[in-house]
Symmetry: C2
Subunit: 298 residues, 2 copies
């Protein structure tokens, strides 16, 4: 079954102790789409400026991603600049230029509206509501961030009441629910609407809360983390991609989706930008999925 994603497409400049990547392809919807494209047909809805390089469009097209919903607006593409330190778990955002993203109102073409699965990337909750009003998906997952939790609580509450799954960082759980304890936080999230909560903890893995209980997955241990930009969006892409490919949301599918998310996110961290992600083969995924089984076997 097919999967629609709405979110940011960006040009990222990333500085790390190991090197610098200047104005590379970035954005949540980009990472999500490239990850999910290994599993299912993806409809990408977003906006870029007149300066968006044709090679990036070609890369997305080469992965079979439907770009009918990719709007090209007058002006410049959204830009983000960040710096990582030796401890890659912490980063500084040095600059954000919204550019054409500031005036973005998502317009879903026919195929994107009809997709059975939908991922609402981290954009203003009012825009997420606009997407929900257009889409016919039977299963919707949501990302958000501390900014929206603090500034647009009412709209965010409306979105939460209409989605099936929330995928957030552990720090966002605290901001959203006031709970320091992750189990209580997940219960509070489920009381707000989404019956499935996925709590990401970066290098510490993630927790899935669902009707079938709790599932804990470590992150895949990596010796060389080159660039963690987009790892969370990549995780969401693998997670939703596997669910859309399976066509159901039973407990086993959800748990395996978490592992698929972890697998593709681990590849994403091993190179600058989404290049490694785009270049993954089915056997790369199978190989690391099997390594994941050995990692947690006892």
């Amino acid at each position: 079954m097919s999967l629609t994603v709405v979110g940011s497409i960006a040009l990222d400049t990333v500085d790390t102790p190991w090197g610098r990547n200047e104005e590379g392809l970035g954005g949540a919807a980009t990472y999500f789409s490239l990850a999910a494209s290994h599993y299912t047909r993806v409809h990408l809805v977003g906006v870029v400026g007149e300066d968006f390089p044709g090679e990036h469009v070609a890369l997305l097209q080469s992965k079979g991603i439907d770009l009918d919903g990719l709007e090209r607006a007058p002006g410049k593409t959204f830009r983000w600049t960040g710096r990582y330190h030796r401890d890659v778990n912490h980063r500084d955002t040095l600059d954000t230029q919204l550019n054409v993203f500031a005036g973005f109102h998502p317009k879903l073409p026919e195929a994107a509206r009809n997709a059975e699965f939908l991922f609402l990337g981290n954009i203003h909750p009012a825009l997420q509501l606009e997407v929900l009003d257009q889409a016919k998906a039977s299963f919707v997952a949501l990302d958000t961030m501390n900014l929206w939790i603090h500034t647009t609580r009412d709209d965010l509450g409306k979105v939460l009441s209409r989605v099936d799954c929330l995928i957030v960082n552990d720090s966002e759980v605290k901001d959203l629910t006031g709970e320091h304890n992750v189990v209580s936080g997940a219960e509070a999230i489920r009381a707000l609407g989404p019956q499935i909560a996925v709590i990401k903890k970066g290098e510490h893995g993630c927790l899935l809360f669902h009707d079938g209980g709790i599932f804990a997955a470590p992150a895949f241990p990596l010796r060389n983390v080159m660039d963690p930009t987009g790892a969370g969006d990549t995780f969401a892409g693998g997670f939703m991609g596997h669910i859309a490919q399976s066509g159901n949301t039973d407990a086993q599918t959800l748990r395996r989706a978490v592992v698929h998310g972890s697998v593709v996110a681990s590849y994403a961290c091993e190179a600058f930008g989404p290049g490694r992600l785009a270049g993954m083969t089915p056997s790369d995924i199978t190989e690391r999925f099997d390594a994941f089984r050995r990692l947690v076997a006892f």
Copy 2:
């Protein structure tokens, strides 16, 4: 087979948002012994003062722990006072009074010397060397802390070259090896001597590095964390207890030992002091071990 532990025995005063425990039974060797006593015969080597309550001695004896190596010295028992906040992952040490622990030199009675398994609790590396010179154990695990890493590096290096397993926190790995990446850090530890490295990450679980690869275990998700004091020592007690009970150190035993450590540590966090730990039944352990399997199944 039997297991010797050398380490601190204390009276702990613990303050949390949920209550206060005044001068309760504490200390690394105490938590370790109580946890390990559910698996195997434990020889406890440590020192207490004249003020150490008889009821604590009786509790340890009731669990079958051999107290021949428990020295009673003139003066007061080691005391520790700490405070936890709503986010229980961070605590402040408010007061430490070494008292009789300051002049401690471990003397291992016959049975403690002859034990096949030995755990060197977090004490001065020079004392750990004194223990190694007395003990005949074929498998030795070690705990240490940032203080010794920074102030007694030479002695610590000698200890590391003589032990089989190091059990430390992730922050200690960075201090010991200079590596921010946990995989590189574990490799650096193994180059210092111990062929088995267990890296504890508190609520994020732990990683085991051994000849058979890497094993990742989450922490058991708890809704109510009352008092995490001693959780790391309890983990070590369950880990070493299971190994001593099994009588071998193959890959599967090591992995299951990590899960047993996680199981008993989760119980230790659910009440003030080591009371819940002492009161555990075999079916408590089996029940949570099984819950752990469900937690990571996919």
